[in-house]
C-alpha cells in the first residue's frame, strides 16, 4: 500500500520526498502539536518518510513512527531510523503514547482494516489527532473515503469523542482531535449542541449580510454604490466642462477670424485711401479742400 500522507498534503507541484517544502510543512504541524497539545510521547501512525517524527524529535518530543510501506520505512532519514519501524496498524501497538497522530492514512485501507486500526490507536493512547480526506473519490488508492461524522462514529464506539473546543485545522480542514471520554450522553449532546448553535447563528448572520450586500448591489445603494455613482457623475460633469470649453474656444476663434478679416479690409481701405491721396487726383482733391476752407465764412 502506498503511504497515505502525500494524498492530501501533496499539492501536485512539490513531489512528496524529503525536501525543504515538506520539512517546513511538517515543522509547522509539529510546532502546533507541541504548543497546543504538548505531549511527551507521540506515535505517528502511518508515518511514511518519517518527517513529522523528525520534526517532533527536533522539538524534544519522544516521537515514533510506524508505516505499512517497507519502501517508505527504508527511506526514512538516518536520524530517526531507530524510532520508526515497518508494521501494520491492524496489529495491536506495544506501548502507550500521550498522543497518536494519524494523517491521511485510513482512506487507503480496507474498511475492516481501518476499523482495526482505530481500535489499535485508541488502545495505545487517550488522544488521537486524526485526519482522513472526505474528498478525492477519484484517487485510485482512496478505497475507504468517509465523511468526518462517519469517522467520529467509529471513534465513539471506542469511547472517543471529538474535542469540540480544539481547532485542529492546522493539519487539514477536516482534522479532529478525538479524546477518551467518560461523559454521559446528555453532556455530549450539550457540548455538540452548543457548537452547533454557535455555528448556526454565525451562518445565519453571514447569510443575512450577504443578502443585504446583494440587495444594495441590485438597488445601486450602499456606500460602495454611492461612491461609484458620485464618481460617474463627476466624470459626466468633467466631460461636459471639456466639451463646453472646446465649444467656447471655437466661438472665440470664429470671432478672431471675423475681426481679422475686418482688420484686413480696413487696412486695404486705408492703403487705398493713401494711394489716392498720394496720386495727382489726391493732390487736386487736397487743393480743392483748401480752397473750400478758404471760401468758408
Amino acid at each position: 500500500m502506498e503511504h497515505g500522507r502525500s494524498a492530501y498534503l501533496h499539492d501536485g507541484v512539490v513531489p512528496y520526498e524529503r525536501n525543504d517544502y515538506w520539512l517546513d510543512e511538517f515543522g509547522r504541524i509539529a510546532r502546533r502539536i507541541v504548543t497546543d497539545i504538548h505531549p511527551e510521547s507521540v506515535l505517528d501512525a502511518g508515518c511514511a518518510l518519517g518527517m513529522l517524527v523528525e520534526q517532533l524529535r527536533a522539538l524534544d518530543v519522544d516521537a515514533y513512527g510506524v508505516d505499512a510501506s517497507e519502501d517508505a520505512i527504508a527511506a526514512v532519514h538516518d536520524s530517526v531510523k531507530e524510532h520508526t519501524w515497518h508494521g501494520s496498524l491492524t496489529e495491536p501497538l506495544e506501548r502507550k503514547y500521550d498522543l497518536v497522530v494519524c494523517i491521511e492514512v485510513l482512506e487507503h485501507m480496507e474498511p475492516a482494516d481501518a476499523e482495526q486500526a482505530i481500535e489499535s490507536m485508541c488502545a495505545a493512547s487517550d488522544r488521537v489527532l486524526f485526519s482522513s480526506s472526505p474528498y478525492d473519490y477519484a484517487e485510485p488508492t482512496h478505497v475507504n473515503v468517509h465523511a468526518p461524522e462517519d469517522w467520529s462514529a467509529q471513534f465513539a464506539r471506542q469511547g472517543f469523542v471529538r474535542n469540540i473546543d480544539f481547532d485542529a485545522s492546522f493539519v487539514t480542514p477536516w482534522t479532529a482531535l478525538y479524546e477518551r471520554s467518560h461523559a454521559v450522553l446528555p453532556e455530549v449532546v450539550r457540548s455538540y449542541d452548543r457548537a452547533w448553535w454557535q455555528l448556526r447563528s454565525e451562518v445565519r448572520q453571514v447569510r443575512e449580510k450577504v443578502l443585504e450586500l446583494h440587495a444594495q448591489l441590485e438597488e445601486g445603494a450602499g456606500p460602495v454604490a454611492e461612491e461609484n455613482l458620485r464618481l460617474r457623475e463627476d466624470l459626466l460633469i468633467a466631460r461636459d466642462e471639456l466639451v463646453g470649453h472646446e465649444a467656447r474656444l471655437g466661438e472665440a476663434l470664429g470671432r478672431i477670424e471675423v475681426l481679422e478679416s475686418e482688420l484686413r479690409r480696413h487696412e486695404e481701405a486705408t492703403a487705398e485711401a493713401q494711394r489716392l491721396l498720394g496720386s495727382r487726383t489726391g493732390r487736386a482733391l487736397r487743393a480743392w479742400h483748401r480752397i473750400r476752407a478758404m471760401l468758408r465764412p
Binding site: R232, E233, L236, I237, A238, R239, D240, V243, G244, A247
Partner: protein, 529 residues
C-alpha cells in the same frame, strides 16, 4: 473642372427644350458640355431649332442607339458624357445663369461627390412659385423623401461606382440615384440658393407617379444599409412614403422621467401628471423590454407617490432626488441609475399616443451615426408642439408651434423623418455611449436649453440628430413656459458655446425669415410671386 448636362427631350415640344438649352448657354461658367437626347424622328428639327439660337461646339444633339424610355435614354446620355461632374434637366426646366458656376465652386473639394441646390416651380407664364428651400445634407430625410431634387450634380466616378442610372427605376430614378450616391458619398454639399426652376407639373406634385418603383428605390436602400424598417405608402397622405419598424432585436430600454408629482388640469380633469404618463407607457407600449426610472423629488407628497407606484408596477424604479431643482441633473442622476444602454428622456407631462413609439425611436437611434432622436409632440387638442428644433438668428425655436394637427410642413417636414440641429428632451432617445461621450446634460443649463445643448454637443461630435414623426405623444406643456420664463442667462450660456451654429443652422435654410416656421420673408415671397 467641367460639368456635363444631359437634357432628355423625348417627345417634348422644341420650344421647351430650347428654353432649357438657352438657360445652359447663358451660364456664367464656361466649363460645361450639353447633351440633348431625343428620338430619331425629332433629331433634325430639334437640332435646327437649337442651332438657331447660336452654334456652340459644347452642345450636341443625339439619339439613343435604340428606342428606350426616358430613364434608359438618360442613362445612355450620361454614358456619352466626358466631364468629371454630371447632371440632368427635364425638357422645359431652366437653370439660373450662375447655377453651374455655384456648383463648380461647391464641388471644388476633391472629396465632394454630390452637390444639390434649392429649386422652385416655373409656371407657363414665366412666373416662379413654390420655392423648395432645402436643408443641408440630411440622410435620414432622404430615406423616404427625395428632398434633394434638382439641381443634383454628381461626381461621375461616384455615380458610376454607385451603379449609375438604372432604367428600371423609371420615375424614381432621381431618388434612387441620390440614395445610392448618398450612401457612399465622401461629402455632400448643399448650395442654399434657388438655382433650378422646374416646369410645372413636375415630379414633386405631378399626378404622374409610379408607386411601385418609389417603394422599390427605398426598399432596396433600406436593404443595402441594413436599416430595420419596411417602407409603405402613408395611408393618410398617399403621395408620401413612410417607414415602419421591422421586427428586430429588442435591447433593454430605460425611460428616465424626472418628476415632483405635479398635478395639472388636462382634458378638463385634475390629474397626477407622472402617474398619467407612466400609465400611458405601461398600457400602450408594445415594446417588450423596458424599465421606467422615475427621479422623484423628496418633497413629493405621499399620495402622488403612491399613485405612481400603483401605476408603474414592476416596470417602475424610483430614484430619490434631494438636491435643489435642476432638470439636467435629475436626468443625469436617472441615467446613472438606469440599467439599459438605450435611454429615453421623458417629461412627466407627456402621454404616449402611438403604441410602437419605442420601436420607432429605436429604428433611428440604433444607427451608430445618430446621436439623439426626438418624437412628434402634440398639445392636448392635438395641435403641433414639437417636430424638431430650429436655430435661427442666434435663437432656438419650435417650428409650427401650435399649428393644426394635420399640418404637413414645408416639403412635408412635419410628417416625414428629418435631420435637425436639436430635438426636445421632453421625449428624446439616445444611446448611453453618446450620453457618456459628451458628458450628459450640462449643469450649466439647470432649466432650459439643456436638451438643445446636449444635441449640439452630439452634432459637434459628429452625430446626426433626428426628428421621428412616427413616434407621437401628447405634451401637456404649460403655456407659461412657452411664453415667458426662459432665462436670459441660460440663453447667453448657450450662445457662448454655440453662437455660430445658432446663427447658421445647417438644417434651416437661410432663405427663410427670422421665424422658425419655414416661411419665406415677405419680400422674397413677393419677388417670387
Amino acid at each position: 473642372m467641367r460639368v456635363s448636362v444631359v437634357v432628355v427631350a423625348l417627345g417634348a415640344p422644341a420650344d421647351l427644350v430650347c428654353e432649357s438649352v438657352d438657360s445652359v448657354r447663358a451660364q456664367t461658367a464656361a466649363g460645361w458640355e450639353l447633351f440633348v437626347v431625343t428620338g430619331p424622328t425629332e433629331l433634325a428639327s430639334l437640332r435646327g431649332a437649337i442651332e438657331r439660337g447660336g452654334i456652340d461646339d459644347r452642345i450636341e444633339v443625339r439619339t439613343p442607339s435604340e428606342p428606350r424610355g426616358p430613364a434608359g435614354t438618360l442613362a445612355e446620355g450620361i454614358a456619352a458624357t466626358s466631364a468629371e461632374l454630371v447632371t440632368w434637366l427635364d425638357a422645359g426646366d431652366r437653370l439660373d445663369a450662375d447655377a453651374l458656376e455655384r456648383v463648380l465652386a461647391a464641388a471644388a473639394g476633391d472629396d465632394v461627390d454630390f452637390v444639390y441646390t434649392d429649386e422652385d416651380q416655373l409656371e407657363d407664364d414665366g412666373s416662379r412659385s413654390n420655392p423648395r428651400l432645402k436643408p443641408d445634407w440630411s440622410p435620414e430625410r432622404l430615406r423616404v423623401y427625395p428632398y434633394t431634387g434638382r439641381l443634383a450634380v454628381f461626381r461621375r466616378a461616384a455615380l458610376d461606382d454607385a451603379g449609375g442610372v438604372r432604367p428600371e427605376l423609371s420615375l424614381a430614378v432621381d431618388h434612387d440615384v441620390a440614395l445610392r450616391v448618398g450612401e457612399r458619398a465622401r461629402r455632400v454639399v448643399h448650395v442654399a440658393e434657388v438655382l433650378y426652376h422646374r416646369r410645372v407639373p413636375y415630379a414633386g406634385t405631378t399626378p404622374a407617379r409610379a408607386p411601385a418603383v418609389e417603394l422599390r428605390a427605398v426598399a432596396e436602400h433600406l436593404d443595402r444599409v441594413g436599416f430595420p424598417a419596411v417602407v409603405e405608402h402613408d395611408s393618410e397622405r398617399p403621395r408620401l412614403l413612410r417607414l415602419r419598424p421591422a421586427p428586430a432585436a429588442t435591447p433593454p430600454v430605460s425611460v428616465v422621467i424626472p418628476t415632483r408629482g405635479t398635478r395639472r388640469l388636462v382634458h378638463g380633469q385634475q390629474i397626477n401628471l407622472v402617474a398619467n404618463c407612466v400609465g400611458s407607457i405601461v398600457r400602450r407600449s408594445t415594446y417588450p423590454d423596458y424599465e421606467i426610472v422615475c427621479v422623484v423629488d423628496d418633497d413629493t407628497d405621499d399620495t402622488a407617490r403612491a399613485e405612481l407606484v400603483a401605476t408603474g408596477g414592476e416596470r417602475l424604479r424610483i430614484v430619490p432626488y434631494r438636491a435643489p431643482f435642476n432638470f439636467a441633473r435629475k436626468i443625469n442622476v436617472g441615467v446613472l441609475h438606469a440599467r439599459s444602454d438605450v435611454l429615453i428622456f421623458l417629461n412627466d407631462d407627456t402621454e404616449v399616443i402611438t403604441p410602437e413609439w419605442i420601436q420607432s425611436l429605436l429604428m433611428f437611434a440604433r444607427d451608430p451615426a445618430v446621436g439623439a432622436v426626438g418624437a412628434k409632440l402634440r398639445f392636448a387638442d392635438r395641435r403641433l408642439q414639437h417636430v424638431g428644433v430650429v436655430a435661427v438668428g442666434g435663437n432656438v425655436g419650435h417650428p409650427y408651434y401650435g399649428f393644426p394637427a394635420d399640418f404637413d410642413g414645408h416639403m412635408d417636414n412635419a410628417r416625414t423623418p428629418t435631420n435637425c440641429i436639436a430635438v426636445t428632451a421632453a421625449c428624446l432617445m439616445t444611446r448611453r455611449e453618446c450620453f457618456d461621450a459628451v458628458g450628459g446634460l450640462s449643469l450649466e443649463f439647470p432649466l432650459n436649453y439643456n436638451d438643445v445643448d446636449y444635441c449640439l454637443k452630439l452634432y459637434q461630435a459628429g452625430y446626426r440628430n433626428v426628428f421621428d414623426p412616427y413616434a407621437e405623444l401628447f405634451h401637456f406643456e404649460t403655456s407659461s413656459r412657452a411664453t415667458g420664463s426662459v432665462s436670459e442667462d441660460e440663453l447667453e450660456a448657450l450662445r457662448a458655446r454655440w453662437g455660430r451654429i445658432l446663427r447658421r443652422d445647417p438644417y434651416y435654410n437661410p432663405g427663410f425669415g427670422d421665424r422658425p416656421d419655414f416661411v419665406l420673408p415677405v419680400s422674397v415671397g413677393a419677388a417670387a410671386g
